[in-house]
Symmetry: C2
Amino acid sequence: MLKFTFLGTSSGVPSLTRNVSGLAIQSGKSKDWILIDAGEGTQHRIQHAKLSLQHLKAICITHVHGDHCYGLLGLLASAGMNGRKSPIILIAPKQIQQWFDATCQLTELFLPYPIEFIDVNLIDQPYVLNEQMSIEPIALSHRVASYAYGITAIQTQRKLNIEKLNQLEIPKGKLWGDLQQGQDIEWNAQTIFNQDIIIQTTQHVYAIVGGDNDQPRLLADKCKDADVLIHETTYTQAVLDKVGPGPMHSSAKMVAEFAQDIQLPNLIATHLSPRYHDQAGVQAIQDEIAQYYQGLFFIANDFDQYELNAQGELSQLHSGKPWEK
Amino acid sequence: MLKFTFLGTSSGVPSLTRNVSGLAIQSGKSKDWILIDAGEGTQHRIQHAKLSLQHLKAICITHVHGDHCYGLLGLLASAGMNGRKSPIILIAPKQIQQWFDATCQLTELFLPYPIEFIDVNLIDQPYVLNEQMSIEPIALSHRVASYAYGITAIQTQRKLNIEKLNQLEIPKGKLWGDLQQGQDIEWNAQTIFNQDIIIQTTQHVYAIVGGDNDQPRLLADKCKDADVLIHETTYTQAVLDKVGPGPMHSSAKMVAEFAQDIQLPNLIATHLSPRYHDQAGVQAIQDEIAQYYQGLFFIANDFDQYELNAQGELSQLHSGKPWEK
């Protein structure tokens, strides 16, 4: 039901194998997608991942630090140069709007489509993007105001009640098709109402994508309903202890212990400090999570793709493992 | 004497083979370098080209359009996160300083080193970067104020006057070494002054790197002294005629005719519209230049390297030809 494509998994600065933050999320079979964060170079990653800027419906920025937003300007400019006309929804701290406005003025950027800006701080109930998706921000703890985004994917299936159709002796063919399409029909001089024939089932999954955060427990309430949590693990605990609490990031241990405590079924770790970008570094993060968490988890690489199905099961569709290239 | 590394050669938007504008220039054997323009993703290109942000002395921005400056923020931020302490000189339109200041405030960017900002519009004589290089802006014609940068590279050689040393019967060894190092020496109870023994020769080369520009002839005066011109050729003439003059770019024909008229010895064409990023497209630009210009020329690819030697001869050190990858 939800497909996640990691466009950047590095903390702070890009390396040769990992770009700064960016995550594409698609719901169902729709070409439409949303983007969580847009570090510099996100539009380049989007090209390589063969995602279309024309189908990008919304961008959610977790916080104002450059490694999460400096790619926003070029991405919006390129969408304009490629002829985009339809609006983009931008959910972000209000400083992002001020920065975007200042950029338009000072660099003479004129977009041929509207930006529908929504101040993340003013959202008090899930924002309904469309029939397939809604988005709710959750406040985190970082050096600046930072948010996670809770993504609810909704899949509605409409099936014909075959038993009833047979009872009414309605023959297969055009009439069944009309009912499937949502129309009422005439049969044996009476009106057969669509709602009496269609069985509608709705499935939900819920994913939480964190921004930078040094208190995973702030997500405890929302995580009760989450099928997957995507969270930063910037350091191992030993390095976090050495660096100190100043940067306000989480260690792999902190996230893993939290996930275990709340019995989270699926976890994806991302936002790795560049000291962990080689195979040994990833292994260190991996080992630390495995020590404290017994659920299913992955360490995201750039270009990794994951799917969360309607049963809330997470699987990896594609691995971008950079050191095997 | 000058080495050019092309970091981005696309106009407007990046493609899979060409990034937006960025050009690294090194003088002599120094590790120090300067950067002309910083489109989004320039810091990523710098990593791939194995250039060090620690040795970047100055950044010159030709104009405020995003494809020439949106990579500035991430590049400066990354240099800070990598521990840079020494200042960076930033020569640019004053809007770039205002934009940088707004960005620092709104995205909480704190650099641990100073930016020495110089308003390009206020430079009225060549800016002396160091003993090896000076930089002068030249006003161009585009939709916004746009500049070329004229780069003078200076190479000074100090040679001992062997004939004179032999006349004075000064023996080889430490005394010759002291003279070579710039010291006066005592010999036969008299002072031998360094300036009487050293033959100093100075060589200059001059390169012009254009910003976006629809009037190559604005460079005519300065090009009289130029060993190489690096200029945009956004379109072929046929496409420019179709697009119209609105975007205010040059065609390959316009640049080639100008170069031929002024008997320019060397030309590098760059800033190609994405419609020319395949092999046929590059060939079309190539053919059009060859039709009107008889000097030496190249169409720059990303990661191409060129050297301009002390005799003003241009050669290609490395070809990045993207379609052969």
